[in-house]
């Protein structure tokens, strides 16, 4: 099998095939000896050229991350045989930008109401979770076009809270 793998925005080509109990593998054309077992869901023990690693996987609705020792990598795996194309995750600062809830919490203050001009990094809303208040900042310079929450609204991670245009 051949996969295209993107790690933190950089692409790699991986060929994997199974021969008896071992994996034959090449990464960007370079052969690598690999032994791997799934220790439990989302935890894999991998031995690569004699070095042992425990790799943990974390998945959210939109992303997959792999942890190798203490390093965390955003990972996207594609099978080139598939007709499905890779979703674009690129987001520039052109056009309207959504302000998303970075965590579950409660909106305690609207700093910049609809119509207010804001600079990039200027506070728009204040969210409270775990007895801590944090200001959510505008991703771009522009005007607050929509505020989709009110003070006291409970939100979950990833909810769209406001739109800056």
């Amino acid at each position: 099998m051949t996969y295209e793998i993107t790690i933190d925005g950089k692409n790699y080509k991986l060929d994997l095939s199974r021969i008896d109990e071992r994996w034959e593998c090449s990464l960007d054309g370079e052969p690598v000896q690999v032994d791997a077992v799934l220790a439990r869901p989302n935890v894999m023990s991998v031995i690569i050229a004699g070095e042992a690693y425990e790799v943990k996987r974390e998945r959210t609705a939109t992303d997959t991350h792999l942890w190798v020792k203490s390093a965390r990598f955003a990972v996207d795996v594609r099978d080139p045989r598939s007709l499905r194309s890779r979703r674009s995750k690129a987001g520039g600062v052109e056009g309207p930008q959504k302000l998303l809830a970075p965590m579950p919490g409660k909106i305690v203050r609207i700093v910049a109401p609809v119509g207010k001009e804001v600079n990039a990094g200027e506070g728009v809303l204040v969210i409270e979770a775990m007895k801590m208040q944090n200001e959510l900042k505008s991703p771009k310079q522009g005007v607050v076009k929509q505020v989709l929450v009110t003070e006291g609204t409970s939100v979950t991670s990833g909810d769209v809270l406001a739109i800056v245009e």
Binding site: R18, V34, A36, L38, T64, V75, M130
Partner: protein, 507 residues
């Protein structure tokens, strides 16, 4: 001894106290709010009672509801843990009125230590050392005279203050006048009271505290000290015992003063006297914490005594089972407070579901935790998830065991500050015991220390790429974000997979 104890708390401390109950043959009663039904403390207790909504004032801080559960369950005593009602003298009094033993000091001692001015007056009378300065607010001329007497630098503080408001550091006498006026005006704006007092400013202060235990028969001992100088925003992050700076002479002196302070306010049960110390080993009284503290495990490891057991014994009227001469400190213990917060994103809180939990163990490691895999960390309470404590014969051994355990610890689904501790423990100043309350802020501001985990980064990327492909083959339905991998599931028999996984687990 009590037959049944109610634990008026949640999270790791409730689990800790429930464990002590089980060890002592005491039935434990948990209380829980709406969002805590599935919490570990509810699952571990013998009995559990719902006490209301997530808002603490309607559940864990609601004295009526908690005493109601004590009555219904027949609990003879209440352990308050830390936070919530643990230092609430009204609650302690309400327990006494309801005929339930409060496992902590008498309300009178809590009241006295809860009031800054009353505590200071009583402590000064008992000969406890304070930071030189004025007791109460002064006019400018008097402030100038005191500053000349105690020497610069000095700190001006709002008498009604807290949280750093109305505080001004003055290093040069010529700046005193403007700082005094600014502090007064800020104090007036913030607290409606312009009174400002003056204290000697301690350069690079260390936060060192002494654990005391007092029974109801007049016996009081100190159990060594803890260094709590590693702090962020005045919140302790890591604690250790013994303190790297404390000598046996300093310990004996601090301990004697701590015992004197506890006796002066009629204290019983477990308490802590907090001191601020300078780098020359001069120390001054700060305040007394009239409860069991978050960092009590480091004292337990170096003294070999279980403080919660002793709290139960004292509260049930027993005498302390040892004297000061019996208390020996051996080895070194360091505690890390594991918080649900994101160190890479300005320490944003990170509640949510714990999707994967790999917990460390092994020699010299203790883990006090309220979390489990699958648990949803609620948004309503403070972010302390667990405490990881390393113990060793020496400080170096404790550090290396703790570092090893931090590499084993993995909490998936939410962010934690585990990586922060790896950086602290690797820092040369920490390793040398060169600490003060500004250590962590300096470390975080220094980009050099941010790269300690980047060694052999290329190798890790390579491993991640290979593992990503293997995950896609071995668990194809959940391979990745785009679900593009199809038709490779039969590459490996599921039976074979299961067998290998089982074999690995049994190692």
């Amino acid at each position: 001894m009590f037959k049944k104890v109610l634990i008026a708390n949640r999270g790791e401390i409730a689990v800790r106290v429930i464990r002590a109950c089980r060890e002592m043959g005491i039935r434990s009663v948990a209380v829980y709010s709406d969002v805590d039904r599935a919490s570990l403390h509810v699952r571990k207790a013998d009995e559990a009672y719902h006490i209301g909504p997530a808002t603490a004032s309607e559940s864990y801080l609601n004295i009526g509801k908690i005493l109601g559960v004590a009555k219904v369950s027949g609990a003879e005593a209440i352990h308050p843990g830390y936070g919530f009602l643990s230092e609430n003298a009204l609650f302690a009094q309400a327990c006494a009125d309801a005929g339930v033993k409060f496992i902590g000091p008498p309300p009178s001692a809590m009241q006295m230590m809860g009031s800054k001015t009353r505590a200071r007056q009583r402590m000064e009378a008992a000969g406890v050392p304070f930071v030189p300065g004025s007791l109460r607010g002064l006019e400018f001329e008097q402030t100038r005279e005191v500053a000349e007497k105690i020497g610069y630098p000095v700190m001006l503080k709002a008498a009604a203050g807290g949280g750093g408001k109305g505080m001004r550091l003055v290093r040069d006498p010529k700046d005193l006048k403007s700082a005094f006026e600014a502090a007064r005006s800020e104090a007036q704006r913030s607290f409606g009271d312009s009174e400002v007092y003056i204290e000697k400013y301690i350069e690079n202060p260390r936060h060192i505290e002494v654990q005391v235990l007092a029974d109801e028969h007049g016996n009081c001992v100190y159990m060594g000290e803890r260094e709590c100088s590693v702090q962020r925003r005045h919140q302790k992050v890591l604690e250790e015992s013994p303190s790297p700076i404390v000598t046996p002479e300093m310990r004996a002196k601090m301990g004697a003063i701590a015992v004197q302070a506890a006796k002066a306010c009629g204290y019983t049960n477990a308490g802590t006297i907090e001191f601020i110390a300078d780098q020359q080993r001069n120390f001054y009284f700060l305040e007394m914490n009239t409860r069991l503290q978050v960092e009590h495990p480091v004292t337990e490891l170096v003294t070999g005594h279980d403080l919660v057991h002793l709290q139960f014994r004292i509260a049930s009227g027993e005498r302390l089972p040892f004297t000061q001469d019996d208390i020996r400190l051996r080895g070194h213990a360091i505690e890390c407070r594991i918080y649900a917060e994101d160190p890479d994103n300005n320490y944003f809180p990170s509640p949510g579901k714990i999707t994967l939990l790999l917990a460390p163990s092994g020699p010299g490691i203790r883990r006090d935790s309220g979390m489990y895999e699958g648990w949803n960390v609620p948004i309503d309470y403070d972010p302390l998830l667990a405490k990881l404590i390393g113990y060793g014969a020496t400080r170096e051994e404790a550090i290396s065991r703790l570092q090893r355990a931090l590499y084993e610890y993995f909490v998936g689904g939410i962010k934690t500050n585990i990586s922060l501790f790896r950086r602290i423990l690797a820092h040369p100043d920490f390793r040398a015991g060169k600490l003060d309350t500004g250590f962590l802020d300096r470390m975080l501001a220094d980009p050099q220390t941010n790269n300690v985990e980047d060694e052999r980064h290329d190798d890790k990327v390579r491993v991640a790429a290979i593992a990503a492909g293997l995950f896609a083959v071995l668990e194809p339905t959940v391979a990745s974000g785009n679900g593009a991998v199809t038709g490779v599931a039969k590459e490996q028999s599921k039976w074979k997979q299961a067998g290998r996984a089982e074999a690995l687990r049994s190692l």
